[in-house]
Amino acid sequence: MAHLAMATGFILILIGFYGALTNRNILRMIVAFTVADSGVNLVLVAVGYMRGRTAPILDNTVPAAEAAARIIDPVPQALVLTAIVIGVGVTALMLAYSYKLYEKKRTLDITKHTELKW
């Protein structure tokens, strides 16, 4: 199961980079980056999965005494949690820049924006 999820994550990363490299519309490129972002998060969570264990949250079904033998590693999950929040910040920044570019030239085609400074 974890291998299949990891393969799906890599395929999503490849699809996202293909879309970011072949589209000319700036918003399309940002959407493709979002897809690649989901793929990266999926690969990181699939790396930390261990077979036959459960989520690292302690409650009645998983008491604290036997937790070390029954829960998976929570460190990759904490990393991915941070990565999701930073990903939405990066997406918002890219959208703000695309809106500034659109206000300047009234177009979103990347080949029309050729200056080094604006």
């Binding site: 459960t54 989520a55 949250i57 409650d59 079904t61 998983v62």
Partner: protein
């Protein structure tokens, strides 16, 4: 006995998921895809409940609460955009 019934129910819901996915991939207009998106979200809520039953953890149901609230937000945003309102 109950396990076998849950297996059959999940298989039937999986067929419904594939049919809604066909409508999402093919749908002629944007609104068709939004309807398929809504249906896919509700079938995913059923999947989450089945996963929680299989693992035996009640904490997994919190994800379904978030799902039921937030699929609504996406559909409302798309509909307001299509209506030239947002």
């Amino acid at each position: 006995m109950a396990d076998i019934l849950i297996y059959i129910a999940t298989a039937v819901a999986g067929v419904a998921f594939l049919l809604a996915l066909y409508r999402f991939l093919k749908g002629p207009t944007a609104a068709d895809r939004v309807v398929a998106f809504d249906t896919l979200t509700l079938i995913s809520v059923v999947f989450i409940v089945v996963i929680a039953l299989g693992e035996g953890r009640g904490i997994y149901l919190d994800v379904a609460v978030i799902y039921a609230l937030l699929s609504f937000l996406g559909v409302i945003a798309v509909a307001r955009y299509l209506e030239r309102g947002l």
